[in-house]
Subunit: 217 residues, 2 copies
């Protein structure tokens, strides 16, 4: 694999996991030293991260981890919800039995992950669950776009999961979605997904208000 790819993946992990918080500046030379590389592949990795919105490049002034205003986050949540609704509606019409059963299996496995102790495990499951829906659309382009947006919002999603009882409620909502999907009721599945996303957003809002609402995240 290319060195620039390795750097990019490592940095993306650090950002989406929260190890590198919003606003943290990313010195090219420092990163190069850390990865035992030169500045060239580091630069290419940073440019790529900028194109997917994880970092912000201020020409000749350095690169920082993207920090979004509340308005921007609200906008992203809205788009994210609409995309998820589209995906589930299309998936209902196109998924095959294997894909449907895989979704149920994932859902069943998630039963062991409810509760605030296993938020990280539930977060990973949640990622797989939604990704499975994306794939069930049989539209690769849509799946890639949806996945990219989810990746970009990883930090916020994790935050909302930590709200009180959110994991167990999230799992119940998943079940409603799956039941509608199994019946082939696309409109009902879409409605359930909309509710699911709306609740996630509300939980994120409560999270924002509790610790410190400084307007940026």
């Amino acid at each position: 694999m290319l060195l620039s790819e390795r750097v990019r993946i490592a940095l993306a992990d650090d950002i989406t996991s929260g190890a590198l918080g919003p606003g943290a500046d990313l010195d090219e030379q420092e990163l190069a030293d850390r990865f035992g590389a030169s500045r060239t592949p580091v630069r290419e990795a940073l440019r790529h991260l900028a194109s997917v919105g994880l970092v912000e490049i201020r020409p000749r002034r350095g690169v920082v981890v993207a920090s979004l205003s509340q308005d921007q986050i609200v906008d992203m949540f809205e788009v994210s919800a609409e995309i998820e609704v589209i995906c589930v509606r299309i998936a209902v019409n196109r998924m095959n039995m294997l894909e449907c059963s895989q979704l149920w299996r994932l859902h069943e496995e998630s039963e062991a992950m409810i509760g605030n102790a296993a938020v990280d495990a539930y977060d990973r499951f949640n990622y797989s669950f939604h990704e499975a829906i994306y794939r069930a659309t049989h539209n690769s382009f849509l799946a890639i776009q949806a996945l990219a947006l989810r990746e970009r919002m990883a930090a916020f999603r994790r935050a909302q999961l930590r709200a009180a009882n959110r994991t167990s409620q999230s799992r119940r909502e998943h079940e409603h979605i799956l039941n509608a999907m199994r019946r082939g009721d696309g409109e009902e599945a879409a409605r359930c997904m909309r509710v699911h996303m709306s609740n996630a957003f509300s939980a994120f809002g409560r999270y924002l208000e509790s610790p410190k609402a400084d307007g940026n995240v």
Copy 2:
């Protein structure tokens, strides 16, 4: 402005305008000579174009203008249609009177651009028209995403407009959309937009079959 930015914009124009066709290979040194720059900024421009999907980088094997399979194009059209539908539905709920009147003004100006003689002018109008709808959503993130996708599909959109009578039909469809929007009927506007996008796609399909259907575009 940064040199790499200038190169990127120039190349993006060449690709979306069709001057550089799908599959054309983009030699770093050659481009560097053409722009009077070194390979470094050219490389960064190419990386950026790859991230928005306009070119394809095959590691250590060179960069070519992206050439999409028919399946990929179908997928993109589908996503594009869904995005447009979302935008118009949201726009109906959020646009103000100024934005509404601007849409109508644009629409009226387009009357002079129907017919196959003015396809380029109509294409530019069409871009502005849909962009105005994006902005009327008052969701910057959505507007940016929608615009990026439209840019990426610029070549295909131009192609479908050249189908017989497509401009005049397109304009009529715009009028239906605008009438529903003015009435504040989001669902009807969404339906009209879906029809509009579907017809554009059909026109593109006819275009694909006529000259040479080699599977790639």
